[in-house]
């Protein structure tokens, strides 16, 4: 009601004016009737009414609400002030928008990815269990669980938890059908109860039953929603139809809902029953294949469950002392298991954006201090005339709140754009599809705008000391202490700004250097002009070693004869393209290892021409020979680090290594090391001949002639494969460089983002520094003029001014380096093979900052030293 009246005041006032006119008119008419002259009648009517303006003002005030009234006045005043300096207003609002937008976007990402519960009913009860081994040298302690171990765990814990598992790193060839090309897709083996444990059910058809999860059961499959839509055009009658996987017909029994997109591997397209697909995995104790998901029973805890399975694990190790059997069980929440890898990078980015926001806030505060300094006398006069101190503070607050509100609105747009981009980028962030801009984001933006606005407004208000009024009014151009406290405040702000900038620069420098090192890291083989692709041979057609061998031999022969191909090689897994499998081996000539231990080597198959094609250097011995095939393939080649680590001081050539349940193989050569993942350290590796005919999956690497673009070979090679087997899909066709780029995409993203933030911070700090120093010089114009007139050397004046500006920089630098040293610790896990205390980065940051600061200071200092004393003294 009141508010309504408030906004109708102007309309009401017009009404009232008319009403008053009518009243006076009526009075005048009466006077005329009484016989007064028209002039007298009019005069009397007006005298009788008194001041119409006062009545209007009274009613105006009656209809107004004091705080609202003040707000409107402040707003109008602020907008007028800001409009007078559009450059300042736009810069400040944009700076705020950047800080608020980036922080909001990151906040939403952190919230949706790291903090929100997983999209399953009662998901806080879901945990993930792993095996672990004190002596294991795998990249993380979280090793998958062996099938036999899982069965024992499940038996022992049926009271505390409901347990299921999945093996998400499987793949199938989908046969060509209905005019569609064959393709290779990611899939997962699951226990029949996995979806029940998670609490999701298929949208169409039925879930797996225990009877589907047996070696003797029919072939059944559940499709993902996206695969169903893409490959089967969302056929509503799909249930009961079959799909050919690895050349075998599988009955489609279900389709998962579209919301079930996250499933340990976003690329997973379908699910098959584990015990049916891989019975040999189900009772193994040393073959770690499964991620275990458990739903805690009411009252049960993760710690309790882990100690329960840990006890089981120790009994298993006693009964099966083989080296591949692990010694302990560990667990974490399913949410942690899903997003663990993203925690550090996301929190680091969030910290960086908060730094930018703080700097933006400090910068706006700094600009407002400058503004109030310029208006010092005006403000003092107003205060002296009775303008309340609160009123002056309120002006600052309104100004910064207007800026931060505009900034917040722009920031929301910015955050929206950033999130939209992120959703379509290839960063491969877990749960990316759950990120969306919602009311939380808007609430967050509003909160941030208010907080930054208040912070930026209150800081300059600190310099409005009530007691200084008289001094300020008395201070004339001859007094040189004027504005000193304000300058001190600006210097403190500047110091804080510089130190935050240093922290950001340090983080950016480290990430960038790490990324650069990663890009130039030696994969261990040639990477230029190299095309790679994957094929996977289904058992149905290639189960016999002769069939398998014949395919690879023909493929290699035909690819090598293609024009433009310099060389080609095949390995079960190419360098940089994944774990690919490891084996525990023993060396026959060495004394037996202590019970329960083994030598862990990466396991690869390679054709005889592979090493030469990829330019993996031969260090000793020889490559495989063409006749080392099928039954005559009992030879091996080991990598240099394997030779150094396991054959110290002896010649490995001629020694035998033995894998469990395989015949021993003789080492015939030593080759250079390669990396299985560009971001991971090298691991010792052994190779056995591809031509033994036992490899189902294989990566083909083709090096093009130097005058041929490797990518142009993709089509002819795919044609050759199509001619050899029209039903065989080709996957991951890309150059080695693209492959490395994809593997380091996230590092690139992180380092470039932090670098961008750091550059923004640096520019803001430079602007702030320039502003402060220019202001100081203006303040001291008269003083400097006198000094110069009295014979001060210009160089001396310049030195003085520079020192004024560089002291806060120096303090900020020291504080920033100290803070940065603590902050970069958090980046440790994001840096590859380098210490967070990299002296080159630290010194580069110091140099960059010093140069920037010097550039920002030199103009005002030069201006100071070239003051014309006559003009300076006449100033003011």
């Amino acid at each position: 009601m009141t508010g309504f009246r408030f906004f109708r005041r102007r309309r009401q006032d017009i009404d009232l004016t008319e009403e008053i006119a009518a009243h006076i008119e009526a009075e005048r008419a009466e006077n005329l009737a009484r016989g007064f002259s028209p002039e007298e009648a009019d005069r009397r009517a007006r005298v009788k009414f008194g001041s119409a303006r006062r009545v209007r003002e009274d009613i105006w005030r009656q209809n107004s609400v004091a705080p609202l009234e003040n707000l409107v006045r402040d707003l109008r005043y602020t907008i007028r002030t800001l409009a007078r300096t559009p450059g300042f207003a736009i810069t400040a609002a944009l700076v705020m928008a950047l800080g608020i937008g980036a922080t909001t976007a990151l906040f939403i990402v952190v919230r949706s990815v790291l903090l929100n519960p997983l999209p399953y009913p009662n998901s806080s009860r879901l945990v993930s269990l792993y095996e672990s081994d004190a002596v294991s040298n795998s990249p993380t302690p979280w090793d998958p669980v062996a099938g036999g171990v899982f069965n024992e765990w499940q038996r022992a814990t049926h009271n505390t938890a409901q347990m299921g598992f999945l093996s998400p790193w499987q793949s199938y060839n989908v046969s060509a059908s209905g005019g569609q090309l064959p393709e290779s897709i990611s899939a997962a083996f699951v226990s029949w109860n996995l979806f029940r444990v998670l609490g999701v059910a298929p949208a169409l058809g039925r879930d797996f039953l225990a009877s589907d999860d047996k070696p003797s059961a029919q072939d059944t499959v559940i499709l993902s929603n996206s695969f169903w839509k893409r490959r089967f055009a969302a056929d509503p009658a799909i249930i009961g139809k079959s799909v050919y996987l690895d050349a075998k017909p599988y009955t489609i029994i279900g389709v998962m809902p579209a919301s079930f997109a996250w499933n340990f591997n976003a690329k997973t397209q379908l699910w098959t029953a584990a015990a049916h697909e891989a019975p040999y995995l189900m009772d193994a104790f040393g073959n770690h294949e499964f991620l275990v998901v458990a739903r805690l029973a009411p009252g049960a805890t993760l710690t309790g469950l882990v100690s329960q399975v840990n006890a089981v694990e120790q009994n298993i190790k006693l009964a099966h002392p083989e080296p591949a059997v692990h010694t302990r069980a560990i667990g974490r929440s399913l949410l942690d298991a899903t997003v663990e890898d993203y925690k550090t990078p996301l929190y680091a980015l969030l910290a960086a954006t908060i730094c930018v926001l703080l700097i933006a806030c400090l910068n706006v505060a700094n600009l407002l201090v400058a503004r109030s300094a310029a208006r010092q006398k005006d403000l003092a006069i107003r205060a002296a005339l009775g303008g309340s101190r609160w009123r002056l503070i309120r002006e600052h607050l309104t100004e910064s709140l207007v800026l931060s509100t505009v900034g917040g609105a722009l920031g929301l747009l910015l955050a929206w754009a950033a999130l939209a981009w992120l959703a379509h980028s290839k960063i491969g962030l877990a749960r990316a599809q759950e990120i969306n801009l919602n009311w939380w984001a808007i609430a967050f933006v509003i909160a941030l705008s208010v907080i930054t606005g208040l912070a930026a407004g209150i800081i300059p208000s600190l310099s409005l000391h009530a007691g200084q009024l008289l001094e300020t009014l008395q201070s004339s151009s001859r007094s040189h202490s004027a504005g000193r406290s304000r300058a001190r405040l600006r210097k403190v702000l500047l110091t804080a700004e510089v130190s935050l900038t240093v922290v950001l620069l340090l983080g950016a420098g480290l990430l960038l250097k790490s990324y650069q090192q990663l890009r130039t890291r030696n994969l261990g083989c040639a990477i230029d002009n190299l095309l790679t692709l994957q094929v996977s041979l289904p058992d149905v057609h290639y189960g016999k070693p002769e069939q398998n061998l014949a395919f690879f031999e023909q493929l290699l022969a035909r690819v090598r004869s293609l024009p433009g191909v310099q060389s080609a090689g095949i390995s079960s897994t190419l360098p940089g393209q994944g774990w690919g499998g490891d084996s525990l081996v023993t060396i026959l000539e060495h004394p037996p290892l202590t019970k329960g231990q083994g030598i862990d080597l990466m396991h690869r198959r390679a054709d005889p021409g592979y090493f030469a094609a990829l330019q993996i250097p031969l260090i000793r011995g020889r490559y495989f020979r063409n006749d080392e095939r099928l039954d005559h393939a009992n030879v091996a080649i080991i990598s240099e680090s394997a030779a150094k680590q396991f054959f110290p001081g002896e010649d490995p050539i001629g020694r035998h290594i033995k894998e469990d349940s395989h015949a021993p193989v003789q080492i015939v050569g030593v080759v250079g090391d390669t990396r299985w993942n560009i971001t991971e350290p090298m691991r010792p590796t052994f190779y056995v001949p591809l031509f033994s005919g036992e490899s189902d999956g294989a990566g083909l690497a083709v090096r093009a002639d130097s005058d041929v673009d490797a990518e142009s070979l993709a089509l002819p090679i795919q044609k050759i494969i199509g001619q050899l087997d029209p039903d065989l899909p080709v996957a991951d066709v890309m150059t080695m460089r693209q492959n490395i780029g994809a593997a380091t995409l996230q590092d690139q993203f992180n380092s470039i983002l932090v670098l961008a933030f750091a550059i923004i911070a640096l520019v803001l700090a430079a602007v702030g520094l320039y502003g402060v120093l220019s202001y100081l010089v203006t303040q001291r114009t008269t003083e400097l003029g006198i000094r110069i007139a009295l014979g001060a050397q210009r160089a001396e004046v310049m030195r003085l001014t520079l020192a004024d500006g560089l002291v806060p920089v120096l303090l900020g630098l020291v504080a920033g380096l100290a803070g940065g040293a603590a902050a970069v610790q958090l980046l440790r896990t994001m840096l590859y093979g380098m210490s967070p205390f990299d002296w080159t980065v630290f010194s580069a940051v110091v140099i960059v900052l010093a140069v920037t600061a010097a550039c920002a200071c030199i103009t005002p200092a030069w201006r100071a030293s070239h003051l014309d004393p006559a003009t300076a003294l006449r100033a003011e």
Binding site: L16, E19, A22, K48, G50, I59, Q62
Partner: protein, 124 residues
């Protein structure tokens, strides 16, 4: 205007609102008529200060006791008419009883005490 007549005609605080309500209870009227009616019915003892008439009208309207509309005055000019609302009628009853209690109380006081002191306070 002589000074003493001004203080004579000055109204007790809060009574203007009541008298406006009373005046409008006999029919709709515009500001000028309301002032005239009050002055005439009080036999010209009370003089409505026009500076306070319109703020009072607006105040009463804002409280929902009056409603207003534009119409034609008796000599066919455009004028803003005020009308007593149902709430205003109830308010009038309340004010009336409050006033008679007050008048009674003042009469009691005046009958028993020194009159000069009261005049001083009343004139304040």
């Amino acid at each position: 205007m002589p000074k003493n007549s001004q203080s004579d005609g000055e109204m007790l605080k809060g009574t203007l609102d009541m008298m406006i309500l009373r005046t409008l209870s006999t029919g709709d009227a515009h500001g000028h008529t309301i002032a005239k009616v009050i002055e005439r019915t009080s036999e010209d003892v009370l003089e409505v200060e026009q500076g306070s008439l319109y703020p009072a009208l607006h105040r009463l309207e804002n409280r929902g006791w009056l409603s207003s509309y534009w119409g034609a005055s008796e000599n066919n000019r455009k004028a803003k008419f005020y009308r007593l609302t149902a709430a205003g009628r109830k308010q009038l009853v309340r004010e009336k009883s409050r006033w008679s209690r007050m008048a009674h109380a003042i009469a009691l006081v005046m009958g028993e005490h020194n009159s000069e002191k009261v005049t001083e306070e009343g004139a304040e």
